[in-house]
Symmetry: D2
Subunit: 339 residues, 4 copies
């Protein structure tokens, strides 16, 4: 079928190509003209403006936006007047599901259908397919099924769950209609919240292995610092890359993120390319907000998010206050930084 | 080659069978005679006592213990006098690596070699193979290579890490000599610590989705309870089993533990078979101890462990004290339990 | 000076009485007529309706609302049409500061001034005074100074901070103009967030002392449960009430909450009056939201909040999922509950 | 009565002086001769060696060690042979209670009594008195009562707990016999664990207030960074020192640590004297170990400890791994550091 795509960045460009390969017609727009040219070279239809893109689509139109969450609203605003009743607008980016609820309400008033799709797959999606979490009206989602199916991974990406009834829904094909508007991005939000937690679990574990040789360093006795009780218990120099590789097969912690960890260590064993300032892109924060609103504990997911904040120096003032209190009650001076 | 195995429980029995299938000779002992009978029926050599098992092994002997961590020392004590110089004793259970260091020292004094093997794979290992993390002397570990190789998963269990030099080490076959004694169980300890963290990440995430319909419940205004600001944001009834299935393909959080989660929801969508008292079996605790000794933060891994403690009611007294303080300063009474 | 007060509950009633004692005229309304009668008996002026209360106040009027956060908006709505330009409306309850910002904007359009006051002191305030955190326009806050001063604790409640310039501001009198609208409740929100953290610190610490006799209980060796390595290290039966009393003098952890803890243990050493379902009343949640919005880590404050959620059973489904996963990969059954 | 004191550092020197003021005879030794001279000038009896100190004491002797935890064992070893049956050795430092259990066992074999005293009060103790948590044999502890009473704070340091039976025990005088050997340092360990938690609660809370003006900073829209949804909610510039002062009277979070926080802000409002590398001195770590051994959750106390580790850069490698994973799955580059 025919699909308009707005945004040909890292995600959008690859998705367009995957659709073209599957035989769909993609009419694309990006504010960078060369991105559009590139797609045209790969078999897409280019547009010089949003208006042109809309004009090239048959009614009822389906337009997929793949732009940063922060610019979705202004993107909609800039071309919604070109759309007509029964057209479908899809937000495949990382929007906050609460914005979906609002947008769906606004667009419904205009007769336009809104679909929110949480899309996972990163730069690997072109090859591996995109896991899609979908929110919207049932009929509309069914209408778009050929698109979702083409973007989705192959069912062969993972063995069938034993006992699963054949033909039961689309989930095992890697896409799912999760519920009404917002449901797609809600599930994607939780997906990313979990992602942060899993990443932190690996990061902390590898960090403990990294420091398993602390017993080899001398420590002076002082009231400011606890000596290691049993230095002979911490004499290990682990090859972290080999451990990551090891766990990929047969272990309980095998996962795609572990595969990537093995890649990372193979490319740069000391991870020296990185300073350790870890970004977060919204979903982790919204996950915590949902947990708090629902009064559901989420110790791990929250700690994972907060560790990212700390990595960017956001705990510095709190730490200074701790040192200041220690100085106040015990005259304790800070120790010099480790070299 | 020939291997003695002590302990034919869930893990040991399957490992013995996997070795027999691979053409190795297994001489087994278990305190339950019928477990031994069962293995004999599958091609193993049985023994009625540890002494008999030792007698049936050619020198230098190799004996693999697969017994609960808490009984390893008394097992060694009960038959070590039958062993001789150059024999090899392997602990494949979930021992604390600090015990390995001590045991290796004690056994070395007797001329006996000790090897610690952290073994992952659970009840699936017979079919899927066992990921093995090995600590001990290099020559001894090399001598046992055929055993490790037979127990290990197939390299085909996961695609090769791109760029990995062919023939580089055994890690991609699912077993690795991690370092001197204790190194195997140290790495296994961290493996399980990470496992707890990953499991908690999924559990918290699914729990937030489970409660995504709280907006449907009414709440009274009271000074004791915050009303939900926007009930319309929490109106979703997610099919958690379908979401687990969905994420297995193409998502960032795909993993073996997620595969199992999909299994679990398929078998029992409401998880009603379980009360929610989550056991922990030692490694998670030791991981925290290592983090604390090394002065390395492990927020996520620790939170995951503590959530298990809480699930077993171990926070109850702390909670009572919180209610007592609230009563003291504000006269706040506890609200009745939710039905 | 003259002040209208709406809401004569636990907080409002005592505040009214403290003002009357200080020589102010209080015109009060409460939807329970007997609460109004009670205050009249103590020297207040009663009103049978909000309208009557407004009528009894001289212009420009000052009205202090002391009602649950959830009903502030509808309270304002129900009588704001009786107010006039230059009147002052004070919200002394536990409103979300974001609501203050909105209300101030709305009321400013009507020429009415809005002041938000975070009020701490609980049921002890009548005797001990109320710590007040104030947000609003400078002139308006100064106009209300006699009211704040009368409600505030005595400066003698705590020794002067050494080196503090005499006469520097009102903070050492227990009230402070913190900034523009919302600032008062923002600071109160953080106050309560910290309160949750401090309470949790005590609760966890006392819980560890409570369990310091676990070495006296026997444990069986099993693969499901780690035995305590050194039972002789956990043989203590502490008298928790005496420890709380002890720390009140000369220790680093002396605090008002510790005083209350000592009270609680004296009244009910086993805390048997409580089930351990700990409520939370909004500010702790909003504190986390602020931390997340600001990208500032708040591990402790969040953990304190989540422990309250857990105490109310909100982790149950997550725990079931953990047990389900353990069953899937290892065939582990849950252990029976401890008696 | 007469008491030998070893160690005249920040703590020991002040304790000796407080005892002398109370009329006790202090025979002191310190490896720095001028510390001894200083005490002699203040009325103490000096010794040039441990042997000399022992010789100057009447039998049965009582010797109080006030040295870093790491050198207690070697201190005992260096002079225990000068002690005799029925002499009493007191460790008033920050020993691990598990060492107390061992030492008591060893010394009992020699007929020497051991008493462990957790001592809180910091540099303020000379003036404020020392809160003492005591472990040891009942008779021995009673024998030392005059010493404990002299070191303890005045009962007037805090109002009596309402309803407390007059004359009930010593706790309200600021010292308590907590149980058998190790009990004193166990309670002190928990005291410090709680101290870390309370300090972190304040530090996090003030940090959130410090960043309450983030809405004033501009943010670009990008896929790497979530924009602040409502910048107008974060426009506050709080005077943190005034807030600390404010909360000292009438608030729920009033405490001695808050008094010190007010001091710290008064002396150095930006806390610029500190880099934010927060030391920890052992008890916080042991508290976590006790929690883990007892299987009791301690989210807050552990988070407080881990935040200190992070402040010293111990999370750096974990953070690099997180960035490496993000780069692997999404091609995400780290953002430059904030200026």
């Amino acid at each position: 079928m025919q699909l308009g795509i707005i945004g040909l960045g890292r995600m959008g460009g690859n998705m367009a190509r995957r659709l073209i390969k599957a035989g769909h017609e993609v009419v694309a727009f990006d504010r960078h003209a060369d991105a559009v040219q590139g797609l045209v070279a790969d078999g897409g239809v280019g547009s010089a403006s949003l208006e042109e893109m809309v004009a090239k689509l048959e009614k009822p139109r389906a337009v997929w936006m793949m732009v940063p969450a922060a610019v979705v609203d202004r993107t909609i605003e800039s071309f919604v007047h070109h759309l007509e009743k029964d057209d479908i607008l899809i937000d495949g980016g990382n929007s906050y599901y609460i914005d979906d609820i609002r947008r769906a309400k606004d667009l419904t008033a205009k007769g336009i259908h809104y679909v929110d799709v949480g899309t996972s797959g990163g730069v690997w999606g072109l090859e591996r397919g995109y896991c899609q979490m979908i929110g919207g009206e049932t009929g509309v989602v069914q209408h778009l099924d050929p698109i979702f199916a083409a973007l989705a991974p192959s069912i062969d990406e993972a063995p069938r769950t034993p006992g699963r009834e054949p033909g039961k829904g689309t989930a095992e094909h890697g896409y799912l209609h999760c519920g009404p508007n917002g449901a797609g991005h809600f599930v994607k939000m939780i997906h990313n919240g979990i992602e942060y937690g899993i990443m932190a679990a690996y990061a902390e574990g590898f960090n403990i292995m990294k420091h398993a040789n602390v017993g080899k360093q001398g420590h002076e006795a002082s009231a400011e610092q606890t000596p290691l009780r049993d230095p002979e218990h911490y004499q290990y120099d682990f090859d972290l890359g080999e451990v990551a590789e090891l766990w990929r097969r047969g272990s309980v912690v095998a996962s795609w993120l572990l595969d990537l960890t093995a890649n990372a260590f193979l490319e740069d064993p000391g991870l020296e390319r990185f300073a350790g300032r870890v970004s977060d892109s919204g979903e982790g924060r919204w996950t915590i907000q949902a947990a708090v609103d629902e009064a559901v504990p989420a110790h791990v997911l929250t700690a994972a998010l907060f560790e990212r904040f700390s990595s960017r120096g956001e705990a510095d003032f709190a730490d200074k206050l701790l040192s200041a209190m220690r100085f106040q009650f015990g005259g304790h001076e800070e120790l010099p930084a480790k070299k």
